[in-house]
């Protein structure tokens, strides 16, 4: 009985400690989300309607933006995961030294709009890289430098996100690598498996939950972030956050519910992905933790 009382009081204590953070999140994010959802279902006069969503789904421009948004989000997430995974796999011993770790994490300290500006400065046709190549004679004309920013595919946007997100992937994967019992890899080898088998059997099952969670975070972030596509994207098609920004800030206030609905949609997709992925990885993770030899 005493134990129960002790546990209860401990739970209360934890709840109390978490209350300020929870209250702020609920007030700011919760209220903001609720307002956005409410306004997406209202006319400018405050009447409830689903007409905004009907208009959104009948708009070709919206679907072009949606396609571009998820193409950029998925490609930059996949590239970040692969590069981050390879770097962590190769260098996790080196990352035990804080200097190396800090060096890799530098891009995380730089704001996204600064990163976008840097990419523009370096990779545009009139940028530093094309100038350098032109100066050393590798390019006859600076116009021959490939168009990497402000083009329809979103190469510049993808490159910027990859540069920014790789350190985040490493940050997420490093603790997992330090937790893996590498004797399992030796077991694989003595049972006749190759290094690749060892990766598939030992490392991947531990990494999978984190890779899935990280990819959901990255897709949700990239699909809803505004600064980089605004700096490095083209006018048409633009990514959803840019389109939403335009609908919100142009002179026609009747477009404001469209701005909200355009951003709620990726939000709902991200929420669905998060719910599905948590459900999928939780059982796997528990089995791994309980079943390991320690």
């Amino acid at each position: 009985m005493n134990g129960r009382i002790g546990l209860l009081s401990n739970n209360w204590k934890i709840s109390l400690y978490l209350l300020p953070a929870f209250a702020i999140t609920l007030l700011l994010v919760g209220y903001g989300t609720w307002s956005a959802v409410a306004q997406s279902f209202q006319t400018i006069d405050g009447e409830w309607t689903i007409a905004t969503y009907a208009e959104l789904f009948s708009s070709d421009a919206f679907f072009h933006s949606l396609k571009l948004t998820f193409r950029v989000a998925i490609l930059s997430t996949l590239l970040s995961l692969v590069i981050g995974l390879v770097m962590t796999r190769m260098l996790y011993e080196l990352f035990k030294v804080s200097t190396w770790k800090l060096l890799v994490w530098i891009p995380m300290l730089i704001p996204h709009f600064v990163a976008g500006y840097l990419v523009f400065l370096f990779l545009s046709q009139s940028g530093l890289l094309s100038s350098l190549l032109y100066q050393i004679g590798a390019l006859e004309n600076r116009a021959n430098f490939p168009v990497l920013v402000q083009e329809e595919f979103g190469i510049g946007i993808i490159l910027t996100y990859v540069w920014k997100e790789v350190p985040f992937v490493i940050l997420m994967l490093l603790p997992v690598y330090y937790e893996i019992d590498h004797r399992y890899s030796e077991v694989v080898r003595t049972l006749g498996g190759s290094n690749w088998d060892a990766f598939k059997t030992v490392e991947l099952p531990w990494l999978l939950p984190v890779l899935i969670e990280t990819s959901v975070i990255l897709v949700a972030f990239v699909a809803s972030a505004f600064e980089i596509p605004y700096l490095l994207g083209v006018t048409r098609p633009e990514m959803l956050p840019v389109r939403a920004y335009e609908w919100f800030y142009n002179g026609d206030w009747s477009k404001r519910p469209l701005a909200f609905s355009a951003m709620i949609l990726p939000g709902v997709i991200a929420l669905l992905l998060a719910t599905l992925s948590i459900g999928a990885v939780q059982k796997h993770r528990l089995r791994m933790i309980k079943g390991r030899s320690r």
Partner: protein, 330 residues
């Protein structure tokens, strides 16, 4: 019997510390060879070198008369079983046991058949669909053994596989494992720091000290007739002294107030630190500032009682200096 494994003059260093020093030995086909030695003497490194997980600095290893030192671990017919079961936690028992067969491209039907046969042998067939976290420590270690044996390796290396289990389970598993190894005709090299385990598991026993074998022989001979003081301290059942060894059966603990008989010689004086039963005989652990030993007594002793350890002088066995073909004292 044919020679299965030959290790010739192997050396291994980590930084500037020599771990294996000019180690040479051989194993016969179907033999169970046990290596006993204190922690840090190089036992595990020896197994890792044989499995290919560590490279040698010098020397050669022959398996069926072919050098294997340049082969990767996956290309040697040698399986290493670790102290912990190290079952893959996300795979079922059956998937764990079939794992190695799958790597060897054995068809699914055949690998399931072989794995199920092996699971029946280790009495875990009904657990085949369970995950490792649903098994006890002993069951996990039996699955690990099945996973190794199903591959029918030329050589099975066992690195203190029972050390993480409780004493009762350890004793029952020893017998089971030895029977299974015999049934399957697998040659094994078993390392341990547990004296009783070393004696029970091996057809031959090697005593390892500071990276070399200091004695190899039949377990009974090694235990009753150690070739050096180091060997006597590690494996001998009795009192290890500079000049020789007195087996436990000849050693008597006498209360200090009783005078030893005229033929008896007192070697050590100490105190009773524990009372135990060995082979249904009450034994006393006698401790003194330099060590401790088990001894019998004609008297009923109590913990803390001061005693003299005595024996007839002629019962002391001098350490042998005769060398065998491997340069070891016999």
């Amino acid at each position: 019997m044919n020679q299965l494994l030959q290790c010739r003059n192997i050396y291994k260093k980590f930084s500037n510390t020599s771990i294996l020093q000019n180690l040479s030995f051989h194993l016969e086909e179907g033999e169970h060879f046990t290596v006993v030695g204190p922690s840090g003497c190089g036992k595990s490194t020896l197994l890792r070198c044989l499995a290919g997980l560590e490279s040698l600095d010098e020397g050669d290893i022959y398996l069926r008369e072919k050098s294997i030192v340049r082969l990767r671990p996956e290309n040697r017919s040698v399986v290493l079983m670790f102290q912990d079961s190290l079952l893959f936690p996300h795979l079922t028992v059956l998937e764990n046991v079939t794992y190695g067969l799958k790597r060897k491209k054995v068809s699914k039907t055949e690998r399931v058949r072989q794995a199920e046969r092996m699971l029946k042998k280790v009495k875990l067939f009904k657990w085949k669909d369970a995950f490792p976290h649903e098994l006890s420590g002993g069951q996990k270690q039996r699955v690990s053994l099945a996973r190794a044996l199903v591959l029918k390796p030329d050589l099975l290396l066992l690195d203190e596989p029972f050390s993480s289990l409780d004493a009762t389970l350890r004793e029952s598993l020893r017998g089971e494992v030895k029977d299974l190894l015999r049934e399957e005709g697998i040659t094994s090299l078993f390392i341990t720091h547990d004296r009783d385990e070393a004696i029970e598991m091996g057809d031959r026993l090697a005593v390892m000290f500071e990276g070399r074998f200091i004695q190899i022989g039949h377990p009974y001979d090694v235990v009753t007739n150690p070739s050096s003081m180091e060997s006597a301290k590690i494996i001998g059942e009795g009192l290890a002294l500079e000049e020789g060894f007195i087996p436990i059966s000849k050693l008597k603990a006498i209360p200090v107030q009783d005078k030893p008989s005229i033929q008896d010689f007192t070697f050590v004086s100490g105190k009773v630190s524990a009372i135990t039963v060995k082979n249904n005989i009450e034994c006393y652990r006698i401790s003194w500032e330099l060590g401790s030993v088990l001894a019998m007594s004609d008297n009923r002793l109590v913990v803390g009682q001061e005693v003299l350890l005595s024996a007839k002088r002629e019962e002391m066995k001098k350490y042998s200096t005769q060398k065998d073909q491997w340069g070891l004292a016999q």
